[in-house]
C-alpha cells in the first residue's frame, strides 16, 4: 500500500503498521480464540483485507476444554469459558499448520501453557514453522483455573516466561496481558525488559453470571472472561497506561466495534488493534473499520495512522472539528 500523496484531497492515508519484524498492511488483527484459524470466516470476510489472524491458543498436550455451557450473554458483552480446548501441539503441527499457508493474510500463532518450560517448548516448535509469522504469548487466559492467568498477574512470572520464550525464537513476540491486575503498567514494563516485541492489551476481564432460577453459575467453569463493548473503557485505560510505561508497540483490544472505537485505542497509544467479539455481530466489521479509518485520516489531511498513535492528550483543534460518528 502506498504512503499516499502529500497533496491534500488526493491523499490516500497509510494504514500499514510494523510490530516487531512484522509488517502488516492493515492495523486490524483478529483476536485469538474469536476467529478460529481464519478459515471459518473466509466465506464472510475478505481475509486479504485484514491485518492478521491470531490463531486460537494451542497448548503442549491436547485439552478437552471446559464443561458446557461456555458462553453467556451479558449487558453489552459476553462471558466465555472455553478452557483452551485444542488438539495439543503435536497434532496441531501435523494436521493444522500446513493449511495456514493458504490464508491470504498474516497468521500469528498463540501459545498457552501452565509452566515456563511448556511456554518455551510450544513456542519453539510452533515458531519453527514458516506458516507462522509471529507468536502471541497468551499468559492471561482467565478460564483455566487460576494457573493460566497467574503469569500475567505477577511481574516476576511475566519476566521469567517472556525471557524463556525470547530465548527460543527470533520471530516477533507479542505478549498478551491481563486486565485483572492492580498495576498493568508494571507488568507491561517487565514484559518489555524481558524481550517482548509488542504487547496485546487486554485479554478478558474475569466475571461470573448466576442463573437465579436454577441457583447455579451459568458457566460450566463457574467464572469466565468478559469481552465486548462493556469492557472498552477498561481496555482503553489499560492501553493508555501500558503505552506510557513501554516503548514497544501495543495491540489494543477490548470491545472494538467500529472505527470510532478503534480510534480511541490508537489515540490512547495502540499501534494496532484486535477485533474479537464484534466479529460475532457482523463479520464485515473489520473491513468496514479499515475503510472508515482511511476516511477519517483523509478528512483530516493525515498521511499515516502512525500520526495519531498516542495523541490522546494533544487535542486536535479547529478547523477540523467533527461532530457525530466517524465515517
Amino acid at each position: 500500500m502506498s504512503l499516499g500523496s502529500t497533496q491534500k484531497g488526493a491523499c490516500v492515508p497509510d494504514l500499514s503498521v510494523r510490530i516487531g519484524k512484522l509488517e502488516l498492511p492493515y492495523p486490524t488483527l483478529m483476536a485469538s480464540g474469536c476467529y478460529g484459524s481464519g478459515e471459518e470466516f473466509e466465506p464472510f470476510a475478505d481475509l486479504s483485507q485484514i491485518g492478521a489472524v491470531v490463531l486460537k491458543s494451542v497448548t503442549r498436550e491436547p485439552r478437552l476444554g471446559n464443561p458446557m455451557p461456555r458462553l453467556v450473554a451479558t449487558p453489552a458483552g459476553m462471558l466465555n469459558a472455553i478452557g483452551l480446548q485444542n488438539p495439543g501441539i503435536d497434532w496441531y503441527l501435523d494436521n493444522e499448520v500446513a493449511k495456514f499457508a493458504k490464508r491470504p493474510c498474516v497468521v500469528i500463532g498463540s501459545v498457552a501453557a501452565f509452566s515456563v518450560d511448556d511456554y518455551a517448548y510450544v513456542t519453539q516448535r510452533l515458531a519453527a514453522r514458516a506458516e507462522i509469522a509471529a507468536i502471541e504469548l497468551n499468559i492471561s487466559c482467565p478460564n483455566v483455573g487460576s494457573e493460566g492467568e497467574t503469569f500475567a498477574c505477577d511481574p516476576d512470572l511475566t519476566g521469567r516466561v517472556v525471557r524463556a520464550v525470547r530465548a527460543v525464537t527470533d520471530k516477533t513476540l507479542i505478549v498478551k496481558l491481563s486486565p485483572n491486575v492492580t498495576d498493568i503498567a508494571a507488568i507491561a514494563g517487565e514484559a518489555e525488559s524481558a524481550g517482548a516485541d509488542a504487547l496485546a492489551v487486554i485479554n478478558t476481564l474475569r466475571g461470573m453470571s448466576i442463573d437465579v432460577h436454577a441457583w447455579k453459575p451459568r458457566l460450566g467453569n463457574v467464572s469466565g472472561g468478559l469481552s465486548g463493548p462493556a469492557i472498552r473503557p477498561v481496555a482503553v485505560l489499560a492501553v493508555y497506561e501500558a503505552a506510557r510505561a513501554v516503548s514497544i508497540p501495543i495491540v489494543g483490544q477490548g470491545g472494538i466495534e467500529n472505527a470510532t472505537d478503534a480510534l480511541e485505542f490508537f489515540l490512547a497509544g495502540a499501534s494496532a488493534i484486535a477485533i474479537g467479539t464484534a466479529n460475532f455481530t457482523d463479520p464485515r466489521i473489520p473491513i468496514k473499520i479499515v475503510d472508515e479509518l482511511r476516511a477519517y485520516l483523509a478528512a483530516r489531511g493525515l498521511r499515516s495512522l502512525r500520526d495519531i498513535v498516542g495523541k490522546a492528550n494533544v487535542g486536535f483543534g479547529s478547523p477540523f472539528q467533527y461532530e457525530g460518528d466517524v465515517g
Partner: protein, 270 residues
C-alpha cells in the same frame, strides 16, 4: 453440499405475531432460499445493532422469501421483534449441518414450542418425497401451538400435547410419541433440552434412530470460538478428530454450530 453461505443485508417483508411473544418474520432473500437445507440456521442481527447476532432456524424458504419463527425471550429477540416491513437485517448463513433423512418412509417429527421453526422444511421435503410424516407438537397451551394449519396443509398428521390440556394430550409430547401405535423408522426433533432428552430416551426404547437439532448459546455461529459445544461420542463421524487428552472418558466437545446443530441422539453424551 454446503453451498454458498454468506453475509448479506436483507429486507423485511412481513411480520406477524402468531401468539404473545411468538413472531413470524418474513424477508426477501432468494439467494439464501436457493442454498438452504432443512435444519440449517442463520446468525441474524438488526443493522446498527449493538448486540451479538442471534441464531435462528430458517423456518420457511420458498421462492424469494424466507422467514424466522422466534420467541421473544431476551434483548436480542426483543430487538428483532421490533422490525417491520422495509427494515433491514443482516444475516450470516445458511450455517450448520441439517437433518439427513434420505430414504426414510415413516418419520416422526417432534417439536416443542419454537422448536417448530426447525422442522417445517424437513416436513415439507419428506412429504414431497412420499414419506409419511407425523408431527408430534407440544407447547404450554393451545395458543402456543402456532401455525398448525401449515403443517396439516403440507400433508403431515398432527398429534398435539399441551401442558394445560387446552388442546390434545395434557402432558408432554414425548408421552404421545412413546404411545404411538406404529413405530416410525426415523425421528427428527427440535425443542427445549428436557424434551430432546426425553425424545432420545423414547427413541432408544423404541429402537428408532433419532436426530436432534440442538439450541445452545452461540457466539460466532461459524465454528470459530468453540463456545457452543456439547459432549459427543468420539466415535461419531461428526466428532472433531482431536487426540484424547489424559483422563478422557470417551467423549469430545463438538461445536453445535459447526458439527451440528443436528446430532444423532445416541451419540450425544449429555
Amino acid at each position: 453440499m454446503l453451498a454458498g453461505p454468506s453475509v448479506r443485508d436483507v429486507v423485511v417483508l412481513d411480520r406477524t405475531e402468531l401468539a404473545p411473544g411468538v413472531v413470524l418474520l418474513g424477508f426477501y432473500a432468494p439467494e439464501l432460499v436457493a442454498v438452504t437445507r432443512p435444519g440449517q440456521f442463520v446468525m441474524a442481527v438488526p443493522p446498527g445493532g449493538e448486540r451479538a447476532a442471534t441464531a435462528l432456524a430458517i423456518y420457511e424458504a420458498q421462492g424469494e422469501r424466507a422467514s424466522f419463527l422466534f420467541f421473544v425471550c431476551g434483548a436480542r429477540t426483543r430487538e428483532l421483534a421490533e422490525l417491520r416491513h422495509g427494515d433491514k437485517l443482516s444475516l450470516t448463513g445458511p450455517l450448520g449441518n441439517g437433518f439427513t433423512f434420505a430414504g426414510a418412509r415413516d418419520v416422526a417429527i417432534v417439536a416443542g414450542g419454537v422448536g417448530i421453526a426447525s422442522v417445517l422444511l424437513p416436513a415439507q421435503m419428506l412429504v414431497e418425497a412420499g414419506a409419511r410424516v407425523r408431527l408430534f407438537y407440544g407447547a404450554r397451551s393451545v395458543d402456543f401451538l402456532v401455525d398448525r394449519d401449515r403443517f396439516a396443509t403440507a400433508g403431515c398428521e398432527l398429534c398435539c400435547a399441551t401442558n394445560d390440556g387446552s388442546l390434545g394430550h395434557r402432558g408432554f409430547i414425548t408421552e404421545l410419541l412413546a404411545a404411538a401405535e406404529d413405530k416410525p423408522d426415523l425421528i427428527l426433533a427440535c425443542g427445549p433440552s428436557p424434551m430432546l432428552r426425553a425424545t432420545a430416551f423414547v427413541a432408544s426404547e423404541l429402537g428408532v434412530p433419532a436426530q436432534l437439532a440442538l439450541e445452545e448459546a452461540f457466539a460466532c455461529g461459524v465454528g470459530g470460538c468453540w463456545g457452543c459445544v456439547v459432549p459427543l461420542d468420539r466415535a461419531s463421524p461428526q466428532a472433531p478428530k482431536f487426540p484424547k487428552p489424559a483422563g478422557d472418558d470417551g467423549f469430545v466437545y463438538a461445536r453445535v454450530c459447526k458439527e451440528g446443530p443436528v446430532f444423532w441422539a445416541h451419540e450425544l453424551r449429555w
